[in-house]
Point group: C2
Chain length 474, copies 2
Amino acid sequence: MKSPQSLDLLLSIDRLCGVPIRTQLEEQLRRAIREQRLHAGLQLPATRTLASEIGLSRGLVVEAYEQLLAEGWIVSRRGSGTRVASRGVGIAVAEVSSQQQGDLPRFDFRPGSPDPQRFPWSAWTAAVRRGMAAAGADAFRYPDHRGAPVLRASLARYLARARGCDSAAERLLVCGGFTQAMDLICRVLKERGARCIAIEDPAFESLGTNINAHGLVTHRIAVDDHGMQVDRLRATAADAVVVTPAHQYPTGAVLSPLRRERLLAWARERGALIIEDDYDAEFRYDGPACGALQGQASEHTLYVGTASKTLTPALRLGWILAPAPMATALAALKRRVDRGASAIEQIALAGFIEHGDLDRHLRRMRVIYRRRRDAVLAALARHRFEHRVHGISAGLHLMIELSRDVDEFELVRQAQLQSVRLFAGRGFWSQPQAAPPALVLGYGAIELEDIDEGIARLACIVREGVPAVAALRA
Amino acid sequence: MKSPQSLDLLLSIDRLCGVPIRTQLEEQLRRAIREQRLHAGLQLPATRTLASEIGLSRGLVVEAYEQLLAEGWIVSRRGSGTRVASRGVGIAVAEVSSQQQGDLPRFDFRPGSPDPQRFPWSAWTAAVRRGMAAAGADAFRYPDHRGAPVLRASLARYLARARGCDSAAERLLVCGGFTQAMDLICRVLKERGARCIAIEDPAFESLGTNINAHGLVTHRIAVDDHGMQVDRLRATAADAVVVTPAHQYPTGAVLSPLRRERLLAWARERGALIIEDDYDAEFRYDGPACGALQGQASEHTLYVGTASKTLTPALRLGWILAPAPMATALAALKRRVDRGASAIEQIALAGFIEHGDLDRHLRRMRVIYRRRRDAVLAALARHRFEHRVHGISAGLHLMIELSRDVDEFELVRQAQLQSVRLFAGRGFWSQPQAAPPALVLGYGAIELEDIDEGIARLACIVREGVPAVAALRA
């Protein structure tokens, strides 16, 4: 077995996989730092040394280091070389890290979480009691690895009604959230000979690296105000595409009806699969409701939904609605992988849906989140943010486009010093340096009365100007 | 992408992997039937056709078909060829299938489950209430993917105290039971260049096939009355070994102190890992307590425990205690795979342990299970089973060795007709035809007052004789 004692063992550059080499190098270094395989304070090899070790041009390594420096993953000081930054810096880039939750910020605008203060605990425990009384001792046997039958039946009805899905309990698999859904899907696709998966650009930061970890190539498809530019799929060899049609992450764009049609046409012609990440569609404030793509092409769509935004990510419950052959293969893999999800919480969720508790909770939360969104927009106006704001009509976050000369990573770092936490947009793009500077700001976890003060602090930092990052050309 | 339209696509025989070709063929056919990729009633190709399609000798295919016929996976009728048996037959061989639980047997001696009637529900819900009151809203954020810190701390103390482990919260990873533990471990070992994993012979039926699914070779190491014959490891190229030292599954043998020493010596010399499956060690009735191997060699052991036998498999909670570098790698993978387990039940389990509820529950259940075991032994004597009984000193099952002329699969089938469910022993061996006929009989889920009648029905079938299986030589 190989031991990861020298840095080069951590890096494996594949010149044939279609991903730009610099991107591969950056992503692998980011992952190694995030996973603490490269620990805080570790001195990185000089660019010249690393370039020769892994057989790349020095220019590529310099660019990758500059990028990681800009993102805060590494630090560079005259005389002491380049080192891995101390923990908690890289984090602002793109992920909520559970490891860092000890120091909750005063003004928490991190996207991706619903309000932890408003989990409907008493309705939930009532659902647990009712469900377990009905299930009896059978609830304590090995659970059905495909998901509790009562939950699959409830979800099938819910998805048909609330999301316009073409659903059936037999084609539903309960899993541990979107992350596990993608892990299972990638494993089945890989087994079936798939080689390439297209994803949006920008996208959820770990999506691409997680897919690549299965030995699958990712192609990035640019997003504009009408969502993914689906016509670009034809120039790829993608066997499947991951898309967030209802509310693109993180730009918030809604996939236009014309593009929906074209995406479905591509999937039909190619025999490809659409992986629909329907992560926060339940929260729509303005404009018409936006049904799931799956309802239009159930034979070609793997629909993925979760309880992570509607209820809480702490439950780790999600579901895949798949065409029949994929549903069978995914269920077989789920059995091999973990034999299914916890039965008690599945039974509770089924009753929670059937009893109308989920609808009640969503109605209440829609009002609360909408007020917060309006407060964010009002505060941005009051504190003279004259930037374009994207994706305000739905979900739990919005994106603020900054002017080209702003260093957003430095801005995020400065904000953190003021106890304001939010994400820099660039971390979501495949080519962060070419991406438009932006802030991704969530309002799922911040109280209404804290919003104005948080935005005021942010405005103050923007007005005072953010120093440019020193170049690394040594 | 390939489609599994013809049978040969489902089979992939690897002549270099060290697993006998007939075993590979049998295991792949069993899996395909179990996963319903080969559905009930499907006609299998003639032995001659299949042999030529996959390039094997016809004799090998005939032997594989005979074996599957004997195990009830397939049926053969003059004139209509060989077909996949209807559902519910293969099941008696080795697994509790959640799909088949609709028809619970009257006398349920299936091994592997604790009593579903005696889950300590009120103590559990009290632990949920206490834990959630203490955790507050933080419990509803994204959980720590390594496991809730309170649970890892509780488990570290519990494992040191109850199992003699060299434990530390930082080296613990909470996962979804033994199945997920093995999936994570295999992925990390494979990434690190491991090629071969030794497992016991006999072993939990899906263990070998699940490991093989990762592209890892398995070597089977014979078990006798003193547990795994560890000296045989030296003749293999195993990078790791899976062992059940406290109560071998399914024979119930305890690994002798001398073999423990030799196993640890082998691991140290080879730089190999011991994967310790400590699945039911909490239930010991006679003889000295048997501490975990991990306590003697924490640098070389991946200890895996679960709540599946002590509480209920419905919780899907397990844990891996690993050497530090493996713990880091496993945690990174767990994050990529599903971002951790449900927080609420982890917090509840932590409180359940800390509050002494687990100890109380185990004390109570030990008395109940011990009485049931004694009742099984008494019933076997009363109904004149003059066979050797193995593994009675611990756990939730025992194994009855039958005489060579008994067809145990037929016996299990006949018993099922009498509403008595138990497992045939042969399904656990790599070479079922060479294995000693045996019955594996669990007493975790059967009430004390039902035991005598269940054993009486079994005795009746044994006394009346079981017809031999017709040979398939066509």
